[in-house]
């Protein structure tokens, strides 16, 4: 019991230590040229497999969002010694994945927040990945880079355990229903 409480507390604290915004972790925030750039990733803790990268581009002077730029992401594996191929990944064919990690166009209106440029990317293996964002607006271009730490893809039971709660829930509902049927006291329950 103590151990479970400790693990739970640790997980909660580990989660809240990361700074979040828009349901994703902020991977980069800073100025480049006349731009102020914030990069988010989802899920908050990155695993090999599908991740959602979004970018908020603002005017450096007044922090107004800019929506007329062209943004491209580039992902490069950094630490080849520690890069491990994922043991398992969700069936990738379920997504229109970007095969070329050296040129990932980020689109506006990609997600719920229409101020963000974004793209869903399939990271093939764990390790450290360098993320570059290339920004082109009119004649001005800029680039930022940050390092992503990518954990191995979780095994299916860990990644999808919550979905399997439906079975015990259904069986519990059935058992309760049988108990209720066995003890019905009112004609309303009668057929």
């Amino acid at each position: 019991m103590m151990r479970a409480t400790f693990i739970l507390s640790y997980l909660l604290l580990a989660l809240v230590r990361i700074s979040w915004a828009d349901g994703g972790a902020i991977q980069f925030q800073g100025d480049t040229g006349t731009f102020h750039v914030t990069v988010f990733t989802r899920p908050p803790i990155l695993h090999a497999g599908l991740i959602d990268i979004t970018l908020l581009l603002q005017e450096r002077s007044d922090l107004n969002p800019l929506l007329d730029a062209k943004v491209t992401f580039v992902l490069t594996a950094q630490d080849s010694a520690t890069t491990q191929a994922a043991l398992w990944m969700p069936p990738a064919c379920a997504m229109s994945k970007t095969a070329d990690l050296s040129h990932i166009p980020a689109e506006l209106g990609h997600g719920e927040n229409r101020l963000l440029y974004g793209s869903v990317v399939q990271i093939p293996s764990s390790g450290h990945w360098q993320l570059k964002a290339r920004i082109q607006r009119d004649a001005e271009s800029a680039e930022i880079e940050t390092l992503l730490s990518v954990a191995p893809a979780p095994l299916p039971p860990l990644a999808y355990w919550h979905l399997f709660l439906l079975i015990p829930a259904g069986i519990s509902g059935f058992v309760l229903h049988q108990m209720a049927l066995g003890r019905k006291t009112h004609p309303a329950a009668a057929r």
């Binding site: 909660l12 809240v16 979040w20 929506l67 069936p91 506006l108 927040n113 919550h162």
Partner: protein, 773 residues
């Protein structure tokens, strides 16, 4: 879109599950409200409907509008979102007095058989009494409000979409609880006197004020996310926090103080003594409950006869269209022309499957849409079958008077043909060969022409067509059935036109006598019986899905399932065929077959035949027979094994359907747009350039949660099969314990099947029918 304001206001998203829940709630409420309005119009005026709809709309705005998109960036926006969930949506929903309308609007079988036992179960009532007691509702509301504003918990919700949903759910739930004693939705009764609601509201306002004042005046940013996050339009996090506190304070307090003042004024006014409702006057809880039950009976919830079940034919426009011969003929003609186009393109077009109509439409779209139609509506694809024209042509040019040989009037031939089809599909990669697909269509045309041209009735549909058999079996899960509206009308009928026909209208060619028809099995939805019945007594009625899987009663033209081993084998071929068909496209099975080809030096058709022999015949046969023997022994029942196995084989239908559904809907979504470039190619080859040039790298409707969807479908299939097996076991076991013993071996078989199906969906898959493959 380069204007940020436009971008902000267009930041809407449609969260699928909650939106579906909102729509469904509204549909059930509306249906029940219409019924109740007839019975007790003074209790359900229009404003209640408007209030309920407004409450659901407020909930939708909170979770789908830009409020949700920007809640993570601006605390003030997040606060408005929470106020909607706590203060606006709940009282409006409750003002709609949703309890009775929703009960009356739900399918009758669901209210009566599923909810009914819970609603009158004493433990549930006890929990309800605790849950809706003002002490608990007030405490739960305050606790939820305070706890979620503690920084670590608030940060947790901001960082994790899952926790964020938990937070929103708890706000809505405790909001509903809090407003319950205040709104006191009819027919619930107050626990505390009305005046007690004034301190109740004031205490709630006090906790709200303390929290709001803290947020407003605290000189540091309380939630680090808002400090570290980007600042839109240069707003400072502290100012944002202050504004959020003000929003919580002013509009929040008004939501408590205005009702408190209103109650106080009414309470102090001698003229406006609150009129007790007719139910509130009844002191005895039993009498009161009986009154409610009586009301539900009047609107047809408890009674089997007061109101007929939902009838699709009664829906304006849709019902008329479905009944219309012209509409059906039009749809059949469209499907016929499509089949011809597919065959022609299959013969003459490029032989790369994703570039050919024959490579995409039949294998990806038609199959996927068929299973969806079967689940949502019924056997609508037989209804618009393209082969109907060919069958009619056969009857015109050939005698159509022979009798189908008696030994073949079973499902054995159909089961064999289905097995052959599944073998050919995998052995010759039919999905990857437009040319072979075209030949299959031609073969189908010829078979339909000759068989129905030579033999009487719908011989082709009933005994031969493998696609039809698929529809017959899978439509056992459908929620609609061609069925009589009133048994009394059939009892007085002497002409039996529904089966004999009424010149020139023919009766049921599949020999299903409506009065004794009990399921969709063998029904092609041709609606001949509907047109033949002189009493207009046949409808397209809502039924409890799956109930025919465990129904042991005899049915017209089919008899008891327990006495039909041929039907059981057909079902088992479809069920285990679903598994082997899905397994055929995963990497481990593909590698295994390639290895077998090399090691044993066998051609692919032979290897596939061996794979299916084991996967679809021998292993399933052994498993099912073994389970039957174990079930007989453990339950100590004396019925013949074949009868027991035939009966329980039907209970595997939900699992089999789930595997087909997961598999075919996966293809439908991943290959959703593939016909567009193919149609563009065909149009270009016909000198119609206005369709544009084909884009072979076209996107699809595939979404990251497709695997989640597959898992959930399989789980629902498992639960359906387990429940069906339990219902059949109850027929065999006289006592509950005996039933469990009969049931146990079948539940293990169901679980084993489920585990294999789950393993399959987790494997790397061949992207058939798309350019990726």
């Amino acid at each position: 879109m380069s204007d940020p304001a436009d971008a902000v206001f267009s930041s809407w998203s449609i969260p699928i599950v909650p939106s579906f829940g909102i729509l469904l709630s509204l549909a059930f409420y509306l249906r029940g409200w219409v019924r109740l309005q007839f019975q007790v119009p003074d209790r359900f005026p229009v404003w209640r409907l408007l209030a309920f709809t407004g409450g659901l709309a407020a909930f939708f705005v909170a979770i789908a509008s830009p409020l949700d998109a920007f809640a993570g960036l601006l605390l003030q926006v997040h606060m408005i979102q929470h106020l909607l969930l706590l203060m606006l949506a709940p009282p409006l929903i409750l003002a709609g007095a949703p309890y009775l309308p929703v009960l009356a609007g739900l399918p009758r079988w669901f209210t009566r058989d599923v909810l009914g036992p819970f609603l009158v179960w004493e433990p549930v009532k006890r929990i309800g009494r605790v849950l809706f007691h003002p002490l608990f509702t007030g405490a739960a509301f305050a606790a939820s409000n305070l706890l979620w504003h503690i920084p670590p918990l608030y940060e947790l919700a901001l960082g994790s979409p899952g926790w964020h949903q938990v937070e929103h759910f708890s706000f809505l739930f405790t909001g509903l609880l809090f407003w319950w004693p205040l709104v006191q939705p009819w027919p619930s009764r107050p626990v505390w006197p009305r005046w007690a609601m004034i301190p109740y509201l004031l205490v709630a306002d006090l906790q709200n004020t303390v929290l709001a004042a803290f947020l407003s005046f605290y000189d540091r940013v309380l939630y680090p996310s808002y400090e570290r996050g980007p600042r839109l339009w240069g707003s400072s996090p502290l100012a944002d926090q202050g504004l959020a506190g003000t929003i919580m304070w002013v509009p929040g307090s008004l939501m408590f103080l205005v009702p408190a003042a209103f109650i106080a004024i009414r309470f102090l006014s001698p003229k406006s003594a609150v009129r007790p409702s007719e139910f509130a006057k009844i002191r005895s809880p039993q009498k009161r409950e009986a009154g409610i039950v009586q009301l539900l009976r009047r609107v047809g919830v408890q009674s089997r006869h007061a109101h007929g079940p939902f009838d699709l034919f009664r829906i304006p426009i849709v019902g008329s269209a479905l009944r219309s011969r012209l509409f059906r003929r039009g749809m059949q003609a469209a499907m016929f022309l499509l089949a011809i186009a597919i065959a022609v393109d299959g013969f003459l077009g490029p032989q790369t499957s994703p570039m050919n109509l024959a490579g995409v439409l039949p294998w990806t779209h038609w199959r996927g849409m068929t299973v969806i139609a079967l689940l949502v509506m019924g056997n609508f694809f037989c209804m618009v079958c393209p082969f109907t024209f060919v069958r009619d042509a056969g009857r015109r040019f050939l005698p159509a008077s022979w009798t189908w040989p008696r030994p073949l009037r079973t499902k054995w031939l159909a089961a064999l043909l289905v097995a052959l089809y599944l073998w050919a599909y995998e052995a010759f990669s039919l999905w990857n060969s437009p040319w072979l697909t075209a030949w299959i269509i031609v073969g189908y045309f010829l078979a339909a022409f000759w068989i129905d041209g030579l033999f009487r009735g719908a011989t082709f549909c009933k005994y031969v067509c493998p696609i039809g058999q698929f529809h017959f079996v899978q439509s056992l899960v459908s929620p609609f059935e061609v069925k009589i509206r009133s048994a009394d009308v059939c009892h007085t009928c002497k002409t039996f036109d529904c089966i004999r026909g009424r010149n020139p209208q023919r009766g049921c060619e599949l020999e299903l006598f409506q009065a004794k028809k009990k399921s969709n099995f063998d029904c092609t939805f041709c609606l001949d019986c509907v047109h033949a019945c002189p009493h207009d007594n046949v409808g397209l009625l809502a039924v409890a899905p799956l109930k025919d899987v465990w129904n042991g009663e005899p049915r017209s033209s089919v008899g008891r399932f327990a006495n039909r081993p041929d039907v059981a084998v057909l079902v088992l071929v479809f069920v285990f065929g679903a598994l082997t068909n899905a397994a055929g496209m995963i990497a481990p099975v593909g590698a295994l077959m390639s290895q077998a080809q090399t090691v044993f030096d066998l051609p692919r058709p032979a290897v596939v035949a061996l794979f299916l022999l084991f996967g679809m015949v021998l292993i399933p046969g052994l498993l099912v027979v073994g389970t039957g023997i174990a079930s007989r022994k453990s339950g100590k029942i004396s019925v013949p094994l074949s009868q027991l196995v035939s009966d329980f084989a039907m209970t595997l239908v939900p699992l089999g359907f789930a595997v087909w559904m997961a598999h075919l809907v996966f293809h439908l979504f991943t290959g959703s747009h593939t016909p567009i470039p193919v149609i563009q190619r065909v149009a270009n080859s016909l000198n119609m350039p206005f369709f544009g040039k084909p884009d072979w790298a076209i996107h699809s409707w595939a979404f990251p949660q497709l695997l989640d969807f597959e898992i959930i479908v399989l789980e629902l299939g498992l639960l359906g099969s387990l429940y069906a097996a339990w219902k059949v076991a109850r027929r065999y076991g006289t006592a509950t314990r005996r039933s469990w013993l009969v049931f146990a071996p079948w539940s293990i078989l169901d679980l084993l099947f489920f585990v294999i199906a789950i393993w399959i969906v987790f494997q790397p898959m061949d992207m058939r029918g798309t350019m990726v493959s």
